[in-house]
């Protein structure tokens, strides 16, 4: 089997999670090559071929041009699979490459299952096996599903180029909004959509205060304007690893888990015992947070008084 990994570069540097692509490749015992629009001084080490275009020439995001570049490598390698991360870069590019190759795409691969790929669905509550019916396939990998692997070796680098013409022009990026740094908090109590309304965020805040911790949030809570954006935890927010993480009314979508699963002890409070937060919870309290949080806060205040 031959696979072509599609690397990516963020702000001029090799994205760290590219090593998850190598982790996936290792689980397949395949012949590996890599295509990347990256920096010449920041390419991964491994024994294989790199098809390289300079990000200073082609930009960090230019989907039509990057599709052409990836296709250059595809034409050379004729791989059985082209593998992306399921990232803002990967999910954007993968269907374009699949279209250009006229082959199937399987998104968010979490495992290999015989001839097919295991994929999560219904917000992580269910799974299924998807089998491509085309001769080759384009894949995107679920973040964190394959452990990162740092191979050794000296790659053979081939420069690729493509017509830079495009209907989409990248104008630049802006950094995350400044705000609280949650990375050093030893206790984080987070509010999810399950809080139901803005006033109930106070119940979460009160527990955080009783524990001397910080309040965090899942994305819908931030999108609703109930808490500031800098408190969002997950792939598009902060990654944290406190001693104690309390998830209140948070289902545990993969993008949220990516930001908090390294916490020392995870307490989940949720009415739905099937919620995927159960994947990582050390303690799962099946309860309505409106009743349970005040009771817990009172007990902790009494205990610490």
């Amino acid at each position: 089997m031959k696979i072509l990994l599609a690397g990516e570069c963020r702000e001029g540097r090799l994205a760290e999670d590219v090593f998850e692509l190598f982790g996936f490749a290792a689980s397949l015992d395949a012949e590996v090559s890599l295509v990347i629009v990256g920096s010449p001084d920041d390419l991964p080490a491994f024994e294989g071929r790199i098809y390289f275009a300079d990000v200073r020439d082609y930009g960090e995001y230019s989907p039509e041009v990057h599709t052409r570049l990836v296709m250059r490598a595809v034409d050379q390698e004729r791989p059985d699979a082209v593998v992306f991360l399921h990232s803002s870069y990967g999910w954007d590019l993968a269907p374009r490459v699949a279209s250009a190759m006229n082959v199937a795409q399987v998104s968010g691969v979490a495992g290999i299952d015989g001839e097919g790929y295991t994929v999560d669905c219904c917000n992580g509550k269910m799974r299924r096996t998807v089998r491509p019916m085309t001769s080759s396939v384009v894949l995107t990998l679920q973040p964190g599903a394959f452990s990162a692997r740092t191979p050794q070796g000296v790659p053979e680098v081939f420069r690729i180029d493509a017509d830079p013409d495009s209907t989409v022009e990248f104008l630049g990026s802006r950094p995350p909004e400044a705000g609280v740094d949650l990375s050093r908090a030893s206790v984080i109590v987070s509010a999810g959509r399950g809080v139901g309304k803005k006033e109930n965020v106070d119940l979460v805040q009160n527990l955080a205060a009783a524990l001397g911790g910080e309040i965090g949030a899942s994305r819908p809570v931030v999108d609703a304007g109930w808490l500031e954006r800098s408190r969002q935890i997950g792939t598009s927010g902060q990654s944290v690893s406190p001693e104690l993480y309390v998830a209140c009314g948070i289902s545990g979508a993969i993008q949220h888990l990516a930001g908090m699963k390294e916490a020392g002890f995870i307490l989940a409070v949720n009415t739905d015992r099937d919620a995927p937060i159960g994947d990582v919870a050390d303690l799962f309290v099946v309860a309505d947070l409106v009743q349970f949080l005040p009771a817990l806060t009172a007990k902790i205040e009494a205990r610490l008084r």
């Binding site: 399921h86 998104s107 999560d120 917000n123 509550k125 995350p176 159960g278 799962f284």
Partner: protein, 263 residues
């Protein structure tokens, strides 16, 4: 000026799920259905453009699925879309993104939409493919996962969400397809007068073969519960009693209470 918005009806994610006997999709008995989250942002964005540009701008909303999806189309009409297209296809949940995209493109082709909005991904099968595949078939410019959009003096700019809170800014030409991410805007609730008005709006019914549905590129099986990996402890019962148990467990398993809180 015409806009097409593609919306998917999905089961509410809080439901108790089990697989159908063929293990290809959910057993739908007793499930509650609603509009995919990202697609509400897509509808709202189209309506904002309509309000901003006014005039003859026309917003069509399209959904592929069984008879139940008409309810979701009605919601989009009550929010303010002008007309609905229902592609009556009970097999939709078992179709792959390639097939869904072939039908949407089949409808959009030749209707010269200036803009097509879709969600970034659906919550039930989350492939994040349909929008981009449609754009490829129509040869539209395409940007995914937008959290901002502006159409001013003929120029279109969009903001994309990147990793770790970074946002990218892009300029693009029309016609374009944009896939909408959570947080793009705040979707409106349909008002009573608009709900009444929407009842008179037209819903065109079409069938998959009229839109040139193609053969699938993938097959699906083994639809099943996601076995939980956790060795965690599950507790339920009365809130007071639970609170006591939880404090004891925090004491036994963490140092956060011993230190007198983390202060």
């Amino acid at each position: 000026m015409n806009i097409l918005v593609c919306i998917k009806q999905i089961p509410d994610m809080g439901g108790r799920f089990s697989s159908n006997t063929a293990c290809t999709w959910l057993d739908e008995t007793g499930l509650v259905f609603r509009m995919n989250d990202c697609d509400e942002y897509a509808v709202e964005e189209a309506l904002r453009i309509k309000e901003h540009l006014g005039g003859t701008l026309d917003v069509t909303v399209l959904s592929i699925g069984a008879a139940r999806v008409v309810e979701t189309i009605r919601k989009a009409l009550a929010m303010g879309c002008d007309r609905g297209v229902h592609v009556d296809d009970p097999k939709a949940p078992e179709r792959d993104p390639w097939q869904i995209a072939s039908m949407i493109a089949g409808y959009a082709k030749g209707r010269s939409y200036d803009l097509v909005f879709t969600g970034m991904q659906s919550e039930d099968r989350g492939s994040a493919q349909v929008g981009v595949l449609v754009a490829e078939r129509l040869a539209y410019s395409c940007v995914t996962g937008i959290t901002g959009f502006e159409w001013r003096d003929g120029a279109v700019t969009a903001e994309r969400e990147l990793e770790c809170g970074r946002r990218g800014l892009v300029r693009l030409t029309l016609p374009a397809l944009l896939t909408c991410q959570q947080g793009l805007n705040t979707p409106r609730y349909p008002t009573l007068p608009n709900i009444m008005k929407s009842k008179k709006k037209e819903i065109i019914v079409l069938h998959p073969d009229q839109l040139g549905v193609e053969a699938p590129l993938t097959s699906v099986g083994g639809f099943r519960h996601h076995e939980r990996k956790t060795s965690g402890l599950f507790l339920d019962g009365d809130a007071e009693a639970l609170a006591g148990q939880v404090v004891a467990l925090l004491d036994a398993n963490t140092a956060v209470l011993r230190k007198g809180g983390s202060r």
